[in-house]
């Protein structure tokens, strides 16, 4: 040990052990082509290789691995949604996170510390009661707590007694948690490539060749690839990529911004979010306080940040925890999110028989990285959509069977 330390400490050629092999040459054809090397695409690749024995898989990533929304998200993991279909799906997602470090043999630092959502009005309390009852019915740990309960869970909160934003109660979700986003993506990438999946970075899909109702090939900056099945999992570019295949998704793109403070000693032991302030906070394992909020107020394909939004987030954070006022911001960023009209994803079939969708993940898709990958892999391997995904079909808009999760999503993702 000491000898190795000395030897490599003094030499320039330390043997780098990369988890993910360098991008190989493209083959002319693959059984499955996955477009998008974010968490979702990589998770699907892992599940195809490990559980369905499908190894002729190429993941095509236009930039670097997991540099899209996977790298930009604030890592809220939870299942306290409002529709039974939504809760059933996200519950499976949380359960997969509970075992994910073992599954990947990679520490994803899943920390199930619970999520506290705050109510400042009776109307919000009513919606919390509904979510708690739905959650209990579906077997998740979700309950309404009163002021005393909020104070016990998060003693440092400014309750604003008698003030205009008095906290009158909360929704406590003991299943909620957080994990390290990069580790999730790299863990899936390492596992998938160990089983033969090829990961092609800097490989951008620029078009599709379709004959009748089938995709024959995808066209990339590195050449044409014939494909058996194709999955679109391109995050903020889902509308754009699907349109290349002639599929117009009910998606609008909005930037979503976030920021972190300088590292502080551990003081925030739950995830906290406020519906009225459109602000949520979580302390990372490095001590930084991650602060996020609602989407930008108008459509845009850009990852620029705005001072307006940063002021808004800072205002919310300082209102909830006034002692944060002197704390410095370390970083701030944005991602382009693919928003659906009902705040639920679009998963399953497309109008083309071998083109599958894992889209519309908007501001809430990190928590679904394991479950969406697992269920989309099953869909592709079996050629049919499993029951748990059926409610998320693209056709739900035409039949007016929306899955409205707006109230359970907008403030905390």
């Amino acid at each position: 040990m000491t000898f190795r330390l000395l030897k490599y400490g003094l030499s320039r050629d330390y043997p780098v052990s990369g988890d993910i092999p360098a991008t190989p040459e493209l083959k002319p054809a693959y059984d499955v082509v996955i477009i998008g090397g974010g968490g979702h695409g990589l998770s699907c690749a892992h599940h195809l290789a490990k559980y369905h024995g499908i190894k002729s898989v190429a993941v095509l990533e236009k930039a670097y691995l997991a540099g899209g929304n996977t790298a930009r998200n604030t890592t809220t993991i939870r299942s306290n949604y409002i529709t039974p279909e939504g809760i059933a799906f996200y519950k499976e997602g949380v359960e997969l996170f509970e075992r994910l470090s073992q599954e990947l043999d990679f520490n994803v630092m899943f920390s199930q510390r619970g999520q506290l959502t705050l109510a400042h009005s009776e109307a919000t309390m009513r919606s919390f009661h509904m979510r708690a009852e739905m959650g209990k019915h579906m077997g998740t740990r979700t309950e309404v707590v009163d002021q005393k309960g909020v104070e016990e869970l998060c003693p440092l909160l400014n309750m604003d007694y008698g003030g205009p934003l008095e906290i009158i109660g909360g929704l406590w979700h003991a299943d909620g948690g957080t994990a390290r986003h990069d580790a999730v993506a790299w863990g899936y990438a390492a596992q998938a490539s160990r089983r033969g999946v090829e990961i092609h970075q800097r490989t951008e899909v620029q078009g599709f060749e379709a004959v009748g109702d089938r995709v024959q090939a995808v066209k990339t900056n590195r050449g044409r690839i014939a494909c058996g099945q194709v999955l679109i999992a391109t995050g903020g570019m889902n509308y754009d990529v699907a349109l290349m295949a002639g599929v117009e998704l009910p998606i609008r793109c909005y930037p979503l911004q976030a920021m972190v403070t300088q590292p502080l000693k551990p003081w925030l032991h739950t995830l906290v979010s406020s519906v009225s302030l459109h602000t949520y906070l979580v302390q990372s394992s490095r001590g930084e306080v991650v602060i996020g909020g609602g989407s930008d107020p108008y459509q845009l394909y850009s990852t620029r940040s705005t001072l307006d939004m940063k002021e808004h987030l800072a205002e919310g954070a300082v209102h909830l925890f006034p002692f944060l006022q002197g704390v410095r911001l370390l970083r701030q960023w944005a991602g382009i999110t693919d928003m659906t009209p009902d705040y639920s994803p679009i998963m399953g079939a497309s109008p083309l028989t071998n083109l599958w969708l894992d889209c519309g993940w908007g501001t809430w898709g990190f928590k679904a990285t394991p479950v969406a990958g697992k269920r989309m892999a099953q869909t592709i391997a079996e050629g049919r959509v499993p029951d748990i995904l059926k409610p998320f079909a693209l056709e739900r808009f035409e039949t007016f069977r929306l899955l409205n999760e707006m109230g359970a999503t907008a403030a905390s993702h």
């Binding site: 509308y239 754009d240 349109l243 117009e248 009910p250 998606i251 609008r252 793109c253 107020p297 108008y298 459509q299 845009l300 394909y301 850009s302 620029r304 705005t306 001072l307 307006d308 009209p341 808009f397 035409e398 039949t399 007016f400």
Partner: protein, 88 residues
């Protein structure tokens, strides 16, 4: 601070405005099938490029239109809604 030039109130901080999304043609309420209604309700313009969209100046509650680039965020021009009717 980004400015938006309101046809009635002149250049103001974009914070004073609310976006109502891209303009879409109104379907004929009598002769439209469910499928087209769903398109009208749920699919708004989202191509990378220039959109014409509704905005409201909140303090004066004045609705108008803007042409904006969805990638660069450049506001190309703003105009009164009557011009849209004249164009149609």
């Amino acid at each position: 601070m980004k400015l938006l030039t309101c046809p009635m109130n002149g250049p103001r901080n974009i914070d004073e405005f609310q976006s109502f999304g891209p303009v879409r043609a109104r379907p004929d309420p009598d002769g439209t099938a469910d499928r087209e209604w769903s398109r009208h309700l749920f699919r708004a313009e989202n191509r990378k490029g220039i959109v014409v969209e509704w905005w409201r100046h909140v303090p004066s509650n004045y609705f108008f239109l803007a042409e904006r680039d969805l990638v660069s965020n450049e506001i190309i021009r703003t105009f009164d809604a009557s011009q849209l009717r004249d164009r149609a």
